[in-house]
Amino acid sequence: MSQAEGGVRALWKSKIKFAFLIPAVVWVLIFTIFPLIYSLRMSFFNIRIGQGDVFIGLTNFARVFTNEQARSAALVTLKIVVVAVAVELVLGLALAVLFNRVMPARGLLRTILTMPLFATPIAIGYLFFTIFYEEGGLINGLIPWKVPWLSDPGLAALSISMVDIWQWTPFCFLVFLAALQGLSDELYEAAMIEASSGWQIFRYITLPLIQPTIVIVLLLRLAEALKLFDIPFSLTGGGPGTATQVYSLFTYRTGLRFFDLGFASALSYVMLVVVMIIVSFFFRHLRQIYD
């Protein structure tokens, strides 16, 4: 083999690895970057499918902040998410602590507990519609009062939070349990020698050690919960009135029901920015913890 041939082969060897990346790059360009750029363009236009687009600058973004329904949807989302995520974290952690101990049928119970996680949210919405149904539904059938779960604005929002808690607490539980099981027994043995109470051990040893995990779980849940769509869509349809019309549901209706695609794109971008701010904030916090 000549030197030149060897050089070509070496060059080919060093470049071939890039060839394998091409499908992934093409995939990302077509299905991520292009829609992102195209929807950004749309957000500056009044889109009338079949009738041409009209450039309107930042009007759609201004509408996000001035439109009463958009503001209401953002507020509704915030209320539902704050309640749901807070309870999921607390409940998930409590269950993880409980299951971290030796107890009978732990494996079976853990399996049962994680099952909601694998259910389809839209189906869960319809399932809980029958459970919350006010005339002869499961819950009202078991209690002596007729609680207006879905027809009272406040309770309807609470019902959605409850369903979200039912589905996502297992996720928090699983991650927290993994974190707890990764902690060294020696630390606890040392703490026991110091005769610390159970609460003190949890407060001053367990909690600080799993704090990075808590931040990660909080971050993931917040990012996911802010996109909440399926459960309100199937459980309440956003009602009564607009009491449970969450931001994603409003965006969906704006874009795909009313074909106001420019405004829907602007709504999506604002959501994207909000989620990015939240992620950045928590990542900074996480970095501080590790530092």
Binding site: G50, K146, T242, A243, L256, F259
Partner: protein, 543 residues
């Protein structure tokens, strides 16, 4: 071995002979040109000679090899509107030689998918079973084709647009051209418990309390309210639990706005000789597109609806059609005002306890109606009774993008023929509600009572039901229908704000003011001038 060979050949021969028999089991031609079509369930529908047009006949399959796709609200092979397409598909395929793809799309997605197909020029579907409130978008966008020439064409199955009352024919047309092919007739009527309201014991008690004879049927909404209040909370059905006066279906996203439209019409719709700025209006000012939805008449109607709702179960705020209908069918409420489906469901004794016990009438009116020209309510000598065509009146239209409009029309026209239309109306479950002369009983129409009784209808119920629908569609005044582009968005915002009022989040005035503001925003976004032009066309306004 030789015998086996003979057996196999014989088997194939029998199969070959049998196949055409199986393949042509849904159409039977008579020597005189008459025809019998067999539905998927084996029911036989007879057609007179020539009724199916000249295109079809023994041995003819004019559209062989062609295939069309029709969209319809998803309801399954035996569901409303969708079911008849399935029932007659084999017969139509055998008649034409073409194939029919029934594309079921959930109600919530149907409009979106159809408009995407049309606006993007995809042409995936050849026709649509549309709701009348889509017309502004469909005709405004030039997406569907008129069928006037087809109706006159002797090649196709025959149906008569003149059998439709004006109120319904208007919904199927635009600008003097017919776009829709006869099918469903939607409108809301008042259903009531005739057995209870005519009971001497209750009548006496009512008179004692309200100082007037209990009217059957009630002629005004105030009378409905009195009766509903009187019966609400009493165990009049003797099931050991308190029962209700009325049941509503105002759940958001489930057509609650249609309830309000029907009820509010007599408060708002001031009849006059022609459409002008004060008369025969409901939605917008015909010269400025200013929303009228927050007029004092509308506000009064919503206040009334809230008062009426108090005589029903509290949970109904979150109820859609199914739950509300079920409540009435279980004999838990005196009144429900709704679509034709209720009359048919009442006959199903597996879920209904009220078969043979109901009465039905055109929706009541009121003695005071708001007059825009005077800026105040005016009193009338007799109740302002206003009919309605509330709902979808779901029917077929042909996509301009279809490569086979003739094939699509042949399908829609078959379903519009008198024998199929009568078959649909008498079955009830088809979701194709009665509205045409030949579906009503004499003296209003020409239908045969026996046809309905054979399908299990109670004689009392069918007489009440058909009379109520006749009176509604042939009423002297029928409230105009919203058919401009964006109708779905206008309806949705109204629906949400009504639900907010019903659940106590907003006062009636605030809810309707908010609706008016949102409607103005929609109108501006869609183009006020264009919307105004189409609105004027839709309601027949001329200066």
């Amino acid at each position: 071995m030789r015998n086996l060979g003979i057996l196999v050949i014989a088997g194939f021969a029998i199969l070959a002979l049998a196949l055409p028999v199986f393949a042509e089991q849904y159409v039977t031609w008579g020597k005189d040109g008459s025809c019998v079509l067999t539905t998927l369930d084996g029911e036989k529908i007879e057609f007179a000679p020539g009724e199916l047009g000249t295109l079809f006949g023994p041995g003819k399959q004019p559209f062989k090899g062609k295939k069309i796709a029709i969209t319809v609200n998803a309801a399954g092979p035996k569901g409303g509107i969708c079911g008849p397409l399935y029932r007659f598909r084999p017969a139509w395929e055998e008649l034409t030689g073409a194939k029919l793809d029934i594309v079921e799309i959930p109600f919530a997605e149907h409009y979106t998918k159809v408009m995407n197909d049309l606006r993007l020029g995809i042409g995936q579907y050849d026709g649509f079973m549309t709701g009348s409130f889509w017309y502004g978008d469909l005709v405004g966008g030039n997406y569907i084709i008129p069928v006037d020439d087809y109706i006159k064409d002797p090649r196709f199955p025959k149906w008569d647009p003149n059998s439709m009352p004006n109120s319904l024919r208007t919904l199927y047309s635009w600008g003097g051209k017919m776009y829709g092919v006869l099918n469903d007739a939607d409108g809301q009527v008042l259903y009531y418990r005739k057995d209870i309201l005519t009971d001497a014991k209750w009548r006496e008690a009512f008179k004692k309390e309200y100082k007037y004879d209990l009217p059957v049927p009630p002629k005004t909404w105030d009378q409905v309210l009195d009766i509903a209040k009187f019966f609400n909370g009493k165990d009049w059905n003797k099931d050991g639990e308190p029962d209700s006066g009325i049941v509503l279906h105002p759940k958001v996203g489930e057509q609650g706005m249609f309830h309000f439209m029907s009820l509010s019409a007599p408060f708002v719709y001031l009849p006059g000789p022609k459409v002008d700025k004060a008369h025969n209006l409901y939605w917008f000012d015909p010269e400025t597109m200013e929303p009228l939805i927050n007029s004092p008449g509308h506000v009064k109607a919503l206040e009334f609806l809230l008062e009426l709702a108090k005589t029903g179960p509290k949970a109904q705020v979150g109820w859609s059609l199914g739950e509300a209908w079920d409540y009435f069918l279980r004999g838990k409420s005196i009144f429900v005002f709704s679509w034709g489906d209720v009359g048919a469901l009442v006959q199903d004794t597996s879920r209904s306890k009220v078969k043979g016990k109901i009465g039905a009438s055109i929706l009541p009116g009121c003695y005071e109606v708001y007059d825009r020209s005077k800026g105040k309510f005016v009193k009338l000598d007799k109740p302002n009774i206003v009919g309605n065509t509330t709902g979808g009146s779901w029917h077929g239209v042909i996509s301009r993008l279809s490569k086979n409009p003739d094939v699509v029309y042949s399908l829609l026209a078959l379903h519009a023929t008198k024998p199929v239309s009568l078959w649909n109306a008498s079955r009830g479950w088809t979701g194709v509600d009665p509205g045409y002369k030949y579906q009503f009983l004499p003296p209003e129409g020409t239908a045969n009572l026996k046809d309905y009784l054979a399908e299990g209808w109670s004689e009392n119920d069918i007489r009440e039901y058909l009379k109520a629908y006749h009176d509604n569609f042939y009423a002297e005044h029928v409230v105009t229908y919203l058919r401009i582009p964006g109708a779905f968005e206008y309806f949705t915002t109204l629906d949400q704000n009504l639900s907010a009022a019903m659940s106590g989040q907003l006062t009636p005035k605030a809810a309707l003011d908010k609706t008016a503001k949102q409607w103005d925003e929609i109108t501006d976004r869609l183009g006020r001038a264009q919307q105004l032009k189409l609105y004027q066309e839709a309601i027949g306004y001329k200066k």
